[in-house]
């Protein structure tokens, strides 16, 4: 029904990231009394101390997983718009399972927690993939609808039945101490989950480019008719990219809980699903380009937040920044200039 796998050129990536930075710098004089000082903080902020550097890397790490989730989905020619619900679901799944087994040892507990996050995400996205495979239900719309109902349901659960009333936040109780991933760079939140994330990047790269299933997934994503002609069981590849994509989103939620949040707080993973789409596009849907893409995206976002903190406004530019990057990134500027040249 719709052509998938957004192709993008390096030029549009440069244009969209450049535009985001320029927008950010252009608004500084309006929101800050000391624009140059703010600009300096904005550009060097993440590297100014161990605390900021660690938190910046930690956030970028979680974004890498979200970006990988969308890479697999795009490579398989599927549009997973349900990342928001899948990350949030993965976070809650991990939290709830670990709250049930407070006496477990560290290693089995962490593995169980990660497993439940993976599974929750995989199921949430897999449902849309399955319906697409079985009854041709448009996965783009269905994954969004399902994810939104999941987000509101979790918001309700966290503020009501599952809420820890001793905390002042709308939050579940915290997971036991032994399940929390060791910190790599104190006093920041950077934790062992980051190392696992790098491993996952390598695994996804290997899966997509060095296994038969990965090859079939990519070929099906490029051209379903060709794949069918080549004898690939294409129906399977409606389901598989969605389930893997959901699992990776779920893993992001899971690692957030194990390493950073320790409890599902209302809205704690909001925005991660959408960021995953932007990052996958910046990375040109290539797994090994996801880490630099996530680092760049997190840097711009971090910069925007820094600029806001050092101003009188409490405006959230996050959504507008995301929108700008998304809007420009699949545009083909090269083609336009070429056409203009032809007319002349």
């Amino acid at each position: 029904m719709h052509s998938m796998r957004p192709s993008s050129t390096s030029l549009s990536i440069a244009v969209s990231l450049g535009a985001a930075l320029i927008l950010l710098i252009a608004i500084l004089p309006f929101i800050s009394d000391v624009p140059f000082q703010t600009l300096k903080i904005l550009l060097t902020g993440p590297f100014s101390s161990r605390f900021y550097l660690g938190n910046y890397l930690n956030r970028a790490g979680l974004y890498m997983l979200a970006g990988l989730a969308m890479v697999v989905s795009f490579q398989g020619g599927m549009f997973n718009l349900g990342g928001e619900g899948q990350v949030y679901g993965g976070a809650l799944g991990t939290t709830m399972v670990l709250l049930m087994v407070p006496r477990f040892g560290a290693v089995p507990g962490i593995l169980l927690g990660i497993g439940s996050g993976l599974l929750t995400g995989a199921i949430l996205a897999g449902i849309s993939g399955f319906f697409r495979m079985r009854w041709n239900t448009d996965e783009l719309i269905s994954s969004y609808l399902l994810s939104s109902s999941v987000v509101y349901t979790i918001d309700y659960l966290v503020s009501g039945p599952l809420r820890d009333t001793r905390l002042f936040l709308l939050s579940t109780p915290e997971i036991a101490e032994q399940f929390r991933l060791p910190i790599l760079l104190s006093p920041s939140h950077l934790n062992a989950g980051f190392l696992l994330t790098i491993l996952v990047v390598a695994l996804v790269q290997r899966f997509l480019y060095h296994t038969a299933t990965g090859y079939e997934l990519r070929i099906t994503g490029l051209n379903r008719e060709f794949a069918r002609y080549g004898g690939i069981p294409i129906r399977r590849y409606y389901f598989l990219p969605m389930a893997i994509s959901g699992a990776l989103y779920g893993l992001a939620g899971s690692l957030y809980i194990l390493g950073t949040g320790h409890a599902t707080i209302q809205g704690c993973t909001a925005g991660m699903g959408w960021n995953g789409i932007a990052i996958a596009l910046i990375a040109r849907t290539t797994p090994w380009l996801v880490p630099p893409a996530a680092l760049i995206f997190a840097f711009i976002e971090y910069g925007a937040e820094t600029a806001i903190i050092h101003s009188d406004f409490s405006i959230e530019f996050g959504a507008i920044l995301q929108a700008l990057v998304l809007f420009l990134i699949t545009a083909r500027f090269a083609r336009i200039t070429f056409q203009r040249g032809e007319i002349k």
Binding site: F131, L145, S148
Partner: protein
């Protein structure tokens, strides 16, 4: 009960009828939600500050229509991926409304206005006497009657005018359109602009109904409208029927919530869930039917 249904369904119906044009022109417009949200904000902001309903309406239609047109024109001309940019419109609308709300009204939350004019409600003379469906024409605002009127109007536009023919041709057989010397891209841009105008109206109705702007005021109605287009077999009459069913389901949910004392936050999840279920059921049924016909 029927009176309430008419009010709930009006925004779905108006937005879905607008989205029908883009769908028939061959564009799946996932930005309906954002277009509606930004329209609602414009309507609330202008009417709340000036007291003029007409001014708010004009602002909503202009802002939402312009957003939609820019979105379509830029996307199609730069050959960008329309789902990615549609997503961008949705994110932008939420962000922009939030930022504008802080700049002009100094709040991120609900924007209330002291003197927000109420919509006049009136009954239609003959139709309101009809048994059962008469309530649909009793004590409704102009918007509700407008939403009814848009059903035949959009059918007429689509099936009885050259423009409607162009829209359908753009989605069905663009080469034929090209042979007649008409740009399919231009038709698509216009049809997305039409959806923007419709979403502006729908958003304005939401704002006028509440007499305020609430963050996330559209709360998924644009997506529901999008699904209603599919479930209504991409026809105005079908869309009318599906919108009615969605509105009835939502009313039942609201009443159930009151009766069972469920929290309001859970109610936010319901429209998405019921739309998801409706969409899946529809694809199962239509899949089975086409297999039987073979």
């Amino acid at each position: 009960m029927m009176t309430a249904i008419a009010g709930i369904m009006a925004p779905f119906l108006i937005a879905a009828l607008g989205g029908l044009f883009t769908e028939r022109a061959g564009v799946l417009n996932i930005a309906l939600e954002g277009q509606m949200l930004i329209g609602a904000f414009a309507a609330a902001a202008v009417t709340g500050s000036s007291g003029s309903i007409l001014g708010g309406l004009a602002a909503a239609v202009a802002v939402s229509g312009l957003t939609a047109y820019l979105y379509a024109a830029l996307t199609l001309r730069l050959k960008a991926n329309i789902f990615i940019t549609g997503l961008a419109v949705n994110l932008f609308a939420a962000g922009a409304a939030n930022v504008a709300s802080q700049i002009f009204f100094h709040t991120k939350g609900v924007v209330r206005f002291d003197s927000f004019p109420a919509l006049a409600k009136f009954s239609l003379p003959l139709l309101s006497r009809l048994p059962f469906i008469g309530q649909l024409f009793t004590q409704q605002s102009l918007f509700v009657y407008l939403s009814w009127l848009l059903v035949p109007l959009s059918a007429w536009l689509l099936y009885r005018t050259p423009f409607g023919l162009h829209v359908r041709a753009a989605g069905f057989n663009e080469t034929a359109l090209y042979a007649r010397g008409i740009s399919g891209q231009r038709v698509r841009e216009l049809s997305v602009a039409i959806s923007g105008v419709a979403c502006g109206l729908a958003g304005a109705f939401l704002a006028f109904n509440l007499g305020a702007y609430v963050p996330n005021i559209s709360s998924g109605r644009g997506w529901i409208a999008l699904v209603a287009i599919f479930l209504g077999y991409k026809r105005p009459g079908g869309i009318l029927l599906v919108s009615f069913l969605f509105a009835a389901a939502e009313l039942v949910a609201q009443n159930a919530q009151g009766a069972a004392n469920l929290p309001a936050s859970l109610l936010l999840a319901f429209p998405f869930f019921i739309t998801f279920v409706g969409m899946v059921l529809f694809s199962i049924i239509s899949g089975t039917l086409s297999r039987i016909r073979k």
